[in-house]
Symmetry: D2
Subunit: 212 residues, 4 copies
């Protein structure tokens, strides 16, 4: 939806000029600001349906359901295959802003804040073995880590990040650290990949594909 | 509450041994896992009061209110001075886990997901001028950035982060990029500090204190 | 010579144990310390021939010449194709140590310190256009940069490094900075690649090969 | 000599404009290119004296000796206190370029390439205990490391660097790795500081000063 109009360019550019032209820069990618108009239209039109969701997972599936049949986005693919997407920080996004916009006009939406936490921990408990692939750090990594802590420690783990352990944050923490917490099994197989995920992930995917 | 029992040590250590001793490692800091017992007691005892909160900001003030008068934590200080704390990803935390634990036992809590977004944007709109200090990146940085985008662009900005623009993420993005989005004024004064915030922030604080 | 006996392993390992087994660790690569014995033998046997070199470039070609015909090392390939290798910090290497060892026994070698500088500047002056590919930073990058400063600025430049401009050193300096010095042409085409060169270089090589 | 005319500014600047004004940029420092004129004069005038040096250590002491009595530079201070400065990559510097310039005019200078290696290894052998402080990586770090390998392993080590072990290079290598090589004692006290040295070094200096 939003990203289909994203353009690639160079990072060294005049941001004042871009602002005048209503182009939003994301390092070396460029997005016309009017994507927000289409986004707003979508949320205005579909808000009643969307607000039937009781939690974030359901909310994201409803968006996936609404997308055209041939759409190949993550949300459509997840909906089609009933793969849950947990997104605890959804209010920190363009989607969050759109919901805020509708609520300003008096619309209501009430998503269960802690339902996802329930689902992700259940998912881990009910699995025979757990394995994780972290693409980057931040909230997504930590959210999975704490689910593992309170369910079943991971037997397999891959982490792709440009952050490093020495700064002490969760994003860069070595997977091994998780052994102390019970997030990672003491016999787990794991590897920390310190690399931009847009470089490392396709290489890993190609290597896996070659073998199977 | 939790951190008072945190110990400093060395990062190079046997995590299997730590796990056996119920010590959780955070790089070179060590936390006895039983802090969760105290935390659980607190939430069990106070859940009814806490669940009166209608949104995250109120919820965090209620915790602050409950803390002992002499407590010098961030939550107590913020409550005392009526400084709002916005925390969109609260379910991704030990607090989130404690609430989940209480809900498993049938307790209810319903925090307005998008109220904070409303408050933070209002705060920016109603200010004569806006300025930001980002300590690290992640959700906190982006949440403030999107509030600025939909209100008043910042006239002053400081960013302390170990992440860099070239990986393309929000955490490492140069403040200047915000000019294209309208998050930063085109005449803003700003500086990107690429350093561990635990080193840079005290130095900045000391320099500011020396001058005023 | 030296690297043929290098083994790959894991970085998390007991260095005291390795020391006892006479294995030298280079992050996740392992080298039996007795490679130095073979190296010492080579230098002992060939020192008279090697000491005929008047400068470092000649010295490295003589080693290349001595290597077996089928050898595919960089030194052999460079000798075969008469490609000069400039190595201003040669005393900071295993080769340097071997020469020092021979000199302790009274042998003599006198390499012109500044001849390479002469050659590399000449090479740039006599080229119609200059282009550079920096794989990593350090002395090699700066040595080429200063040659460009005193001859012909580069029209093309690629830099692959994990270092970044913000720390202020030469290794991480943005290529663009070279325009101020006259090291890079103001109309040059250039790109800074912030990535481990062992990942980025093969990808670039494959992409170039695919196109030609 | 050179640095006294260095100015501080901002990294975001037009390098083409700087080039036109003959200002050389080093990230956010700016140097008028005509410092090279003063440098050239110095070398032209003093070359006969300088060329009496038999190796790099002597050469640097002679420069130190020539500097005005009140000069507080590193070279003057080192000369005054007879502290050897080992600089294996001296041809990779403005000094190297100046010597090259004089040699173009037929002057001669012959510095023993491997004498410093001899001196630094001797220094380590003759010490009761060895300790090292690496400020940054590159040739200086490795040159000291290989001296330790062939003499007495370090009992104390501090490393300040922004580079990290995971990229596999010498600059970022964890000090612990040196235990396998015999560069660091297995009972050594050591610490790796991952921080810009211009931030960390003054803090360490202040902390040491406070204690003694």
């Amino acid at each position: 939806m939003i990203w289909s109009r994203l353009l690639k360019g160079l990072g060294r550019i005049d941001d004042v000029e871009l602002n005048r032209k209503h182009i939003d820069r994301i390092y070396d990618s460029f997005m016309p600001n009017d994507v927000y108009i289409g986004l707003e239209g979508f949320f205005k039109k579909n808000f009643d349906e969307l607000s039937k969701a009781k939690n974030i997972k359901e909310f994201l599936w409803i968006i996936g359901k609404m997308l055209p049949e041939k759409n190949e986005s993550i949300l459509k693919t997840a909906y089609r295959n009933k793969i849950p997407i947990f997104c605890p920080a959804i209010s920190d996004s363009a989607i969050g802003l759109m919901i805020w916009g509708q609520m300003l006009k008096g619309k209501k939406m009430m998503l269960g804040h802690f339902d996802d936490l329930n689902d992700i921990i259940e998912l881990s408990w009910s699995s025979k073995k757990t394995g994780v692939i972290y693409v980057g750090g931040g909230v997504p990594k930590n959210y999975i880590q704490q689910a593992l802590q309170f369910s079943k420690s991971a037997s397999y783990a891959v982490q792709i990040s440009t952050d490093i352990p020495q700064y002490g944050g969760s994003s860069g923490a070595d997977l091994k650290e998780g052994i102390s917490w019970g997030k990672l099994s003491k016999n787990a197989m794991y590897v920390n990949v310190i690399c931009d995920a847009t470089i490392a992930l396709p290489l890993i995917y190609a290597a896996v594909k070659e073998r199977f």
